[in-house]
């Protein structure tokens, strides 16, 4: 399908999952991501896939475990409180080295919070998606087209590294409509025969998918091996986008909807003669540390724009070894910073003076 179509972010990612070969979707409705389930409910029966509305988020993530263990591409989606409910199952996926795609279309929190957009699950996604030592690959789309592209990429990365991957979106990205191309090319196939529990046909030993290890040294060895894989991912899979950074003296860092607002603010600030650009992380884990650290040697200050009380800002400070000040421009609880909010923070950063 080379022609563009007009899609909601949630629908577009659902269609991208289908095009990536996902035929198993298990979920439970929650605003603002319910369109994903609604779309899958319509499409899966038509294409011979399985859509199942589970009795709970906990059930859904364990169905994902089952489908992934059988070697199938599987996806679940939810929004903030629902992801918290899935966290035990996400840890089991990681502990069993199972690939799967988990979608979080974030809403305001904590608690039941509200249905308006938010980015306050950054810590949860990048640091603590469940118990135990593990990481998720975390992808952050900033357009409906990226909802498509990163869903497709997310399945590939999950299979490539045998680990769960999360698409960390937000309510705005899920609900907004933009023209998209669904032309994504070939799906790369991975040989899962060495580990998937997909039937021995009495021709091989059983493959066992499990996260329980009786001996502690064995569990430790698996953890060490997994972290060697994580090091490869940190070396090879970092994705980010740079916007007007060539001569920038101030560097904005933002992802998702915050990056869209920031882009408008940068254009306005440039009209006023302020040299400002943006580094937009596309992978939140692995975090684009090297490019930020290099930027810290050129710019005089950073502004982190996020829809939370300040979560990603800690990763920026770590990445740049606190070499330059990092200001926070934030709204939370379902509110989005305006272009004017970001502009005034850029002006503040510009007045910090030059230890450049």
């Amino acid at each position: 399908m080379a022609e563009k179509v007009l899609m909601k972010g949630n629908e577009a990612l659902a269609e991208a999952a289908i095009m990536a070969g996902c035929r198993h979707y298990f979920g439970y409705p929650i605003t603002p991501q319910t369109e994903i389930a609604a779309y899958m409910a319509k499409r899966m029966p038509v294409i011979g896939g399985t859509f199942l509305q589970a009795e709970s988020e906990v059930a859904a993530i364990n169905m994902i475990y089952g489908a992934a263990a059988a070697g199938k591409r599987a996806m679940t989606s939810s929004s903030s409180p629902g992801i918290a409910l899935k966290s035990e199952g996400i840890s089991y996926l990681a502990g069993s080295d199972l690939p799967a795609l988990i979608i979080n279309v974030q809403r305001g929190g904590p608690g039941l919070g509200g249905i308006q957009p938010s980015q306050s699950d950054y810590f949860q996604a990048t640091k603590s998606a469940g118990h135990g030592d593990f990481h998720l690959i975390v992808l952050a789309p900033a357009s409906v087209q990226e909802m498509v592209d990163l869903t497709f990429k997310g399945f590939d990365l999950a299979d490539k590294y045998r680990m769960p991957t999360m698409l960390l979106s937000d309510g705005t990205m899920g609900q907004m409509m933009e023209p998209v191309s669904l032309d994504m090319g070939e799906v790369k196939e991975y040989d899962k025969s060495s580990w998937a529990a997909c039937g021995t046909k009495c021709e091989r030993e059983h493959n066992v998918v499990n996260s329980l290890f009786i001996q502690p040294d064995e569990l430790e060895r698996y953890n060490f091996e997994r972290f060697e894989r994580y090091a490869q991912i940190e070396a090879n899979e970092v994705m980010y986008d740079e916007y007007r950074m060539e001569d920038a003296e101030i560097c904005l860092v933002a992802y998702g909807v915050a990056a869209r607002v920031s882009q408008n603010a940068i254009d306005k600030a440039r009209e006023n003669g302020i040299k400002v650009g943006m580094i937009r992380p596309i992978t939140l884990w692995p975090f684009p540390k090297a490019v930020l650290n290099a930027a810290a040697d050129k710019v005089k200050s950073f502004v982190c724009v996020e829809l939370s009380m300040g979560q990603m800002i800690e990763d920026i400070e770590l990445a740049i070894r606190c070499k330059k000040p990092v200001l926070l421009c934030n709204r939370t609880g379902g509110m989005i910073p305006t272009t004017a909010d970001v502009l005034s923070k850029i002006e503040e950063a510009n007045n910090i003076g030059g230890d450049k």
Binding site: E15, G114, I115, T339
Partner: protein
């Protein structure tokens, strides 16, 4: 263009009903003193008529919507005031119905009094660039699902085929055959083909009943700029 007292906009999810309804209400206001818009969307959590409330009120158009619209809870309630505009024969009412059959279910409770008065138009909003309604058969199937859920029949079609800001004149011209096929299959007339204001001059002589519209339903970060040019 003939105007019935009540005009309902229904159609596939994301076909552009809300934006068409807002534009149509502005058009009605040129001809009639009292115009009200009722937002009966029980499906969409964001990007609702409520976003345009201040703008509509500034044009003298009254908006009736759920007290929970654009709030932090997803309560699919209907505004009590909606009954008033259906019964008040001095008001020209524009009714924005939620998408698909699920959204049209909300019409069920109003259908008997609308049908009884028999001074209404129910328009099917279509967009060929929506991937689940790219052709005649799929669009007509959605149409029948909505009619069953609403307990009402459509009376006309609005061809709202668009790709948002990226829509070109060729996109609009290329959608006419699609709309005509649906018109033939359903027996419904094409009431209008919408076109972005900036494309209106280039297509108005090539498409019958061309209706220029503005994009009022926008992403939140684009709103500030939009509010500037609205004034």
């Amino acid at each position: 263009m003939e105007h019935k007292r009540i005009t309902l906009f229904a159609g596939h999810y994301g076909s552009g009903k809300t934006n068409v309804a807002v534009n149509y209400a502005l058009h009605l206001k040129d001809a009639f003193e009292k115009v009200s818009v009722a937002d009966l969307d029980i499906v969409n959590p964001y990007f609702r008529t409520k976003d345009s409330e201040a703008f509509l009120e500034s044009k003298g158009i009254h908006l009736i919507s759920s007290e929970y619209a654009n709030s932090n809870v997803d309560v699919p309630s209907l505004p009590a005031e909606a009954y008033a505009i259906i019964d008040d024969e001095s008001v020209h009412a524009v009714i924005d119905v939620g998408g698909d059959d699920r959204g049209a279910l909300a019409l069920g409770r109003y259908a008997p009094s609308i049908l009884k008065q028999n001074d209404y138009e129910m328009l099917l909003v279509i967009n060929k660039f929506r991937p689940l309604t790219p052709d005649c058969a799929s669009t007509v199937a959605v149409m029948h699902e909505i009619e069953t859920a609403a307990g009402m029949k459509f009376t006309g079609i609005i061809n709202n085929s668009n790709l948002g800001d990226e829509t070109t004149a060729d996109d609009v011209l290329g959608s006419v055959a699609y709309a005509q096929a649906i018109s033939e299959a359903s027996g419904l007339p094409i009431k209008m083909t919408t076109v972005k204001e900036d494309l209106y001059e280039s297509v108005k002589d090539k498409v019958s009943d061309c209706f220029p519209i503005r994009l009022y339903v926008r992403q939140s970060w684009a709103k500030q700029e939009e509010n500037l040019w609205q004034k």
